[in-house]
Symmetry: C2
Subunit: 123 residues, 2 copies
């Protein structure tokens, strides 16, 4: 298990517990948070912890897959917000034992394109 | 580096090369492919290779992050289709040296919710 895997597991656990000082300990002071889908970026540990602490609603993070080597980590998690749940993904970069970058993906449902029905089943 | 990491790297490389026999070698005969966003599922190596081989357009897979342990792997990649590109993510399960499950996520752009502009910059 790489160092990033342990950091990602701790990140998810402290986020779920709303342990904001504990979460901050895992983050580099200059951590960068990005959501490529909205092209949003947050710079710095203080703002990023505030963003999480003030995120509205009754939300929960349930890890499904946690992976990492010495530089990169990833988290597949079930995200539940006010009783509705979906799968989401985060990637992490680490350096000197702290998280330096978090990249979040929030995949939304969509209708499949036509032409592959003969290969596919729906659930 | 876990076994899954090597399998995921080979998967991406053979997909990009359209090496369909080589791709099939990496897959369990009963491999399951799922897209949670569309609730689509493809069962079996033959159908899944056909799905990839017939995927329309000029598409390219450029790995950004490849991670894996002895059971799970993940791939963050730049997906380019007919000149338009975005980031996408796949998770993998492996057993006995072959890929038994592939789960794809295709995150689409969306507008951010209001209320966090004071913490965020856009790009």
């Amino acid at each position: 298990m790489g160092e990033a895997q342990a950091l990602v597991a701790a990140f998810a656990e402290r986020l779920e517990r709303r342990d904001w000082p504990g979460l901050a300990e895992l983050l580099d002071p200059d951590v960068v948070y990005e959501i490529p889908q909205t092209r949003e970026r947050i710079r710095g540990r203080e703002r990023y912890v505030t963003f999480n602490a003030r995120y509205p609603g009754d939300w929960h993070v349930e890890p499904r897959v946690v992976l990492g080597d010495d530089h990169d980590g990833c988290l597949l998690f079930r995200w539940t917000l006010d009783g509705e749940s979906s799968l989401a993904v985060a990637f992490f970069e680490i350096a000197a034992g702290r998280i330096t970058k978090v990249t979040d993906f929030w995949p939304e449902p969509y209708e499949p394109p036509p032409g592959r029905e003969h290969l596919v089943e729906r659930w």
